[in-house]
Symmetry: D2
Amino acid sequence: MVGGGPGAFIGAVHRAAARLSDQFELVAAALSSDPQRSLSAAEELHIPRAYASFTEMADQEAQRDDRIDAVAIVTPNHMHYAVAKAFLDAGIHVICDKPLTTTLQDALDLSKTVTRTGLIFGLTYTYTGYPLVRQAREMVLAGELGAIRMIQVEYAQDWLSTPLEATGSKQADWRTDPERSGPAGCLGDIGTHAYHLACFTTGLRCSELAADLTTFVPGRRLDDNVQSMLRFEGGAKGSLWASQIAVGHENHLELRIYGEKGSLVWDQENPNYLRHSPLGEQPRLITRGGPEVGTASKWATKLPAGHPEGYFEAFTQLYSDLAEQITARLDGRAPDKRALLVPGVEDGVDGLHFITAVLDSARNGSAWTSIPKT
Amino acid sequence: MVGGGPGAFIGAVHRAAARLSDQFELVAAALSSDPQRSLSAAEELHIPRAYASFTEMADQEAQRDDRIDAVAIVTPNHMHYAVAKAFLDAGIHVICDKPLTTTLQDALDLSKTVTRTGLIFGLTYTYTGYPLVRQAREMVLAGELGAIRMIQVEYAQDWLSTPLEATGSKQADWRTDPERSGPAGCLGDIGTHAYHLACFTTGLRCSELAADLTTFVPGRRLDDNVQSMLRFEGGAKGSLWASQIAVGHENHLELRIYGEKGSLVWDQENPNYLRHSPLGEQPRLITRGGPEVGTASKWATKLPAGHPEGYFEAFTQLYSDLAEQITARLDGRAPDKRALLVPGVEDGVDGLHFITAVLDSARNGSAWTSIPKT
Amino acid sequence: MVGGGPGAFIGAVHRAAARLSDQFELVAAALSSDPQRSLSAAEELHIPRAYASFTEMADQEAQRDDRIDAVAIVTPNHMHYAVAKAFLDAGIHVICDKPLTTTLQDALDLSKTVTRTGLIFGLTYTYTGYPLVRQAREMVLAGELGAIRMIQVEYAQDWLSTPLEATGSKQADWRTDPERSGPAGCLGDIGTHAYHLACFTTGLRCSELAADLTTFVPGRRLDDNVQSMLRFEGGAKGSLWASQIAVGHENHLELRIYGEKGSLVWDQENPNYLRHSPLGEQPRLITRGGPEVGTASKWATKLPAGHPEGYFEAFTQLYSDLAEQITARLDGRAPDKRALLVPGVEDGVDGLHFITAVLDSARNGSAWTSIPKT
Amino acid sequence: MVGGGPGAFIGAVHRAAARLSDQFELVAAALSSDPQRSLSAAEELHIPRAYASFTEMADQEAQRDDRIDAVAIVTPNHMHYAVAKAFLDAGIHVICDKPLTTTLQDALDLSKTVTRTGLIFGLTYTYTGYPLVRQAREMVLAGELGAIRMIQVEYAQDWLSTPLEATGSKQADWRTDPERSGPAGCLGDIGTHAYHLACFTTGLRCSELAADLTTFVPGRRLDDNVQSMLRFEGGAKGSLWASQIAVGHENHLELRIYGEKGSLVWDQENPNYLRHSPLGEQPRLITRGGPEVGTASKWATKLPAGHPEGYFEAFTQLYSDLAEQITARLDGRAPDKRALLVPGVEDGVDGLHFITAVLDSARNGSAWTSIPKT
C-alpha cells in the first residue's frame, strides 16, 4: 500500500476491503510522503515490510522473490500518476483509487503504460462493486429497458457546505487544494463517480456535454457544485448534478435510467434495493439476493437477502474480483468473466476526459463540448 | 365555466374544487366550442344557464343583474386568451387554467387588460394550493434556509411514453398538437408548473437559462422532454427537468431547495410531508397539519394531520382563496392576506417568458438565454 | 343532517363528502342537541329547513312531499341509536357515523329495525372508501394471496398522549367520557375501524380474541391502548393494536395481510399505494389508478394515477355509493354491484360484538373470548 | 472456531466479522462433528491447527503456550452447551452464537460456569452491534422518551413459507428439527432476537407474557409463527411477533418504542436510520454517523454518514468489543466501557426463560405466564 497512513479515510477502507475479501495480506507499505511517518505508520499497523518512500518500495519489491502481487495506491490525487507508473514499471499489478490522475496527459500516459506492460490495473470506482449496480447494468445491456432515453444521475453531499478547509480538516484541505486535487474540486472528487456510474450501467458513451460549475462557499479555491446536460451516442440524453454543498445529503448518489420499455432507480444510501418500473406494469422492487436477480448481482452478493450489505462490501467486491484476475494470471488460466467488471485504466482516462470537458464547457459559456473516445 | 364538457379532465377538477370549497355555485356555462354540444353538456350537468358559445355567455351575463361573479376557463390552451379577454371586457373576474396563453404577445396583452379593468384574475397553478408548498415558501422567505444556492425541480410523467396521440386519446391529441397547445408540448403542459413552483416557493427571479429539448417518441409533433440549467438573480443555480416519457413516474413533481442553512424536499405524489434538513442537524419531517407548521400552511389545511389531503384539496384552496378575494371586493374590504397566494396574470406572463426562453435556447445550441422581467 | 354543528369534525367531513360526490343537497338539519344552537347553526350553514331537535325533524320530514332522501347522523356515539331509530321509523334511509351504538343491545335492535323497514343503512367506516382498500379486498377474495395466514392491523394515533380532555378540548372530552362514548375509549373510537378493515378486506370472520386494555394517561376514564390477538375461522391468526398514546403517529392505520401465496400492505397515511409481495417474486407497488388494478378499485377512483386522493375522497366514495343505492331504489332498479361495498348495520353489530369481546377478555385476564356471529 | 464448516451460514459470518475487526486471527478449528470433514474443512480454509473434534481442541489448546484467546461456537443450537462448557472448563473465553442452549437447565448451568470461571462470554445477538440500536438504548436509558409505555417488536421472514425442509435445504432442515434446534422453531431462531432487542434497548425486564404459537406449514415439526403480548416491570406493555411465513419479508426486524415524551423506530433492513418523534415536535431522522448522535453509537460506527453499514459491520462490532474486553483482561486493565454492550451468558438465560414462558403460555390457552428474573 502506498499512502493511507493512520487518519486517512480511503486507505483504511482499502485495507478493510482487502481483509474482508480474504484474498489479500498486507505485507509492504509506504504509507506517507514523510519517510519517518511512513515507517512509524507501518509499524503501528503491523505491516512487516515498511518503506520510507514509494520509489524505494517499488525498487525493492521488484527484486524480491516474495514480492507483492499488487500495490494499492491511496494517496491524494496528485500522486497517483507517479506511484502507479513506478509500480507498473516494476512489473507489479496496480489497484488505484480514483481519479486516475490530475491531468489528462498523465492519464493517457498511464494507459499506454498499462498496455505496454500488460499488467492488471484496477481503478476503485467503489459503486461498481454494489450487487444491484451490476444488476442494473446487466438488465440494461440485456435490453430489458429498451433503448435508453434519459439518464439522471446525481451525487450530492453536504460536508463542504461551510468553509471546512479553513478549520484544519485534513480531508477538506487537500480536496479543495488545486495542488493536490487537480483543477477539479467536487467535479473530480464525486462528479467522476456519478459520470462513471451512468456510463458503467448503461454501456453508453457520452459524446458531449454542457456544464455550469459553481463555487458557492466564499474563499474556496475549487468548484463545489457541478451541473451538466449530457448527450450520449445513440440519442440518449442525461443530466448530471454533483454537489458538496447540498445541505441534507450525506452521500446521496442516485442513478435513474429511463428507457423505452422501463426504468431503474438506485440510491447508494439504500443500496440493497433497485426499483424497476416496466412500461405499463406495476413498479417492482428488486432486492439484493432476492427473487429474480441475475448472474452479475449474485456473483457480488455476500449475504442473504434482508441482511444489509453496504459500502465496505461493495469495495470488497472490487478486491475480490481483482484477486480473481491476479490469481488467474498466476495460474495461467482465464479469469471468471464475472470478475471482469472492475473499472480499469481506460475508465480512468474517460474520467479525465469528462473532467476536461466540464472545465472547458464551463469556461466557455456552457457550450456543448465534445468528449473524445478513449 | 367555459370549456370542460363531459370527458374533459381539468373541467371536472375545477367543478369539484368549486363544490368542495363550498363558496361557488355553477350557474352558467359554455362547455364546448360546438354550440349544440355546449347546450346538451350543460343540461347533462344540470347547469341552469346554458350558452352556445363563450361570446354569447360573456355578452349576456354582463347584462344580467344576477350575473356570475367569476368565470372559470378550462378550454384547451389556444382558447384561453380570447375567452379571458371577452370576460374581462365584460367586467367579470376570471379563473383561468394554465398556461395563460399560447403566445407571449397574448399573455402581455391579457396582463394589460387585467391592469386596465382592475379585475381579479386567478391562474390555477394547482400545486401552489398545497399547504406544504406554502409552508416551504413561508420558510424560505423567512430566511430559514439562508441564501438559496441550488434549486432542483423536476416534473416527470410517463403517460406519453408511447405515441398515445395516434390511438385516439383525446387528452394526448390536443396536448401534442401545436395548433391547440402552442409551440411547447411537455414544456408548456408541465414544464411551466415546475418552473412556477420553483419561483413561487423561493421568491427568486430566474434571469437566464440554457435548455435542451427533445422529442423522443417518433412522429410526435412537440417536445416530450425538457432539460434546462437555470440561473437566478442573487446567484442561485437551478436545474429543471420535465418529461412525459419517464417510464415509472405517474405525476412526479418534486421540488428540492438547498440554502446555506438548510434544505427542503417536497414531492407532489406524497404531498402531506415536507422534509426539512437544517445544516448540521437531523432532518425532520414537517407534516401537513402537524407540529410547528406556519400560518400559510394552516390557512390552506382542511383536515387534521394524518388524514391525507390530495390534488382536489390543493385545487380547492385556489377556489377558496379566490372566493375570499371576490367576496372581499364585493364587501368593499381588504381580503385576508393569506388568500393572496393564488397565482395571477403576471405568473402567466412569467410562464410564457419561460417557454419562450427555453424554445430560443434550444434552437440556439442551448445558449444561455435571458428571461425578461415581467 | 343530525349533529355536526360548527366546530364539529366529522359533521364537516360528511358535508364535504356529500358536496364532492355531487349527489346530495343538504336541505334539512338538527345540528345540535340545544334547540337554539340547532337553529342558529343551520342558518349559519345556509341550510333551508332548520329543526330544533332530531325528533321534530324526523316527524316533519316524514310528512313532506319533498322529504329528505336520507339523513346523516353525526352526533356523539351515545345518540346514534335514538336518532337512527327515529328516522328509520319515519321511513327515511340512514347514513350513520361509526360506531353504530354504544351498547350491543341497541345495535341488535337497530339491526332488526333495518331488516323490518327494509331501508338503506350506511355506516361510514371511512377506510372502506379508499380505492386500494377495495383493491385489497378484491385480490384476497379472488384468492390471489391463497389461504390467509396472518393479519396484522394497527391504528395508532398520538393526540391523546397527554390528558388533553383536562384542557377543554371538545374532541378529547366526549371521546374519553363513558357517558357519551360508551364503555370503550380508544377501542371504540379507532379499534373498531381497525377490526372492520381486517374483516372487510379478507372476508374472514373473527371467531375469538384475547385482549389487554390499558389506560396510560393518569386520570383518563377510558382505555387509550388496545392490544389483542385474534383467531379467524379457517385458521388465520391476527394481531390488532389500537392506541391513542403512540407518540409520533398522527393517524397511522396500517393493514398487512399474509397469505400462502402473497401479502399486501396498506397504510392510510399514504393511501395511494398498496404493496403486493407475491411468494417468490419481487414485491410490486400497486398504485391507485395505475396499471393492473381491478374493477372495485377503478370504481372508487376519481383522479388519474399520481394525482393523490385522500381522506375526503374516501369518504365521498361512501356517499357516492349510497347515492347509487338510494337512486336505484327510487328508480326501481338494482344498484350497480360495485356500489354495495358500503358497510351496513350488520357491520355495526360486528363492531359492537368486537368491543364487547375485548372488554370481556380484558376483564377476564386476557382469556380467549368468543365473538358471536352477527 | 467450533462448527461452521464450508456451506454453513453463520460460521462464515463469524469469520468475516473477525477479519473485518482486524483483532483476531483464526488459528485453530474443529469445523464439523465429522472428524474427517473437520480436518479437511480446516485445510480448505487455511486454518493452521485442525482438530478432529471440539473436545480434542479444547484439551490440546488448553495445554499450549500459544493457545487461542477465545473460541467461537457456531454449531447448531443443540451443541452450544457442551462445547461452551468444554472450553470454559479449559479456561478459554467463549464467543457463542445464539440461542445459548436448547434447554433452560443447560443455560443456567452455563451461567454458573461462567461465574465460576470468571471468563469472558459473548453471545452474538447480532443486532446489538448496530450503531443505531445502541443509540436507541442510550436515548431510552437517558430518559429522552420519558417512561416507556408500549414496545412493538417484530421479526418477520418468509423463507419458510413453504416446506423447504422437505426439499433438502440444510439451513431449513436443522432449524425445523426439534433434535437440533430444541423445542422452539421460529421462536428460538428469531423470536429470541426480537425479545432481546426489546429488552436491550429499553433496559426493561419483561415480567409476564401471553402467547399464541402456530405451525402454518403442513408437516412442519416446530412453530413457524409466534404472537405474544408482553408486560414489563414498571407498567410498559409490549407486543412481539415473529414469523418465518410472512411472505414479502426477507429479514424484517423492526423495533418501535413509545414513551411518554417520544418514540423511536428502527428497522434492520434499513439500519442506518433511526426515526425519533419527540412529543409535539416534528419527527426527525437520526442517521448513523450523522448529526447529534451519542457516544455509544459513535463507538460502533466505522464509516462516515451516508456510506451504508450493514449486517457484517454489526457483527464485527461484537468481535471488536470482545477483543477490547479480552485485550484489557490480558493487559490487566479495565476495558473501555463502551465495549461492554455485548450480550453475555445472562442474556442467553433470559432468552431461555422467554422461550420457556412462550411454550408454557401457548400450551396453556395463552394464559399470562411469569418470566423469572435471571
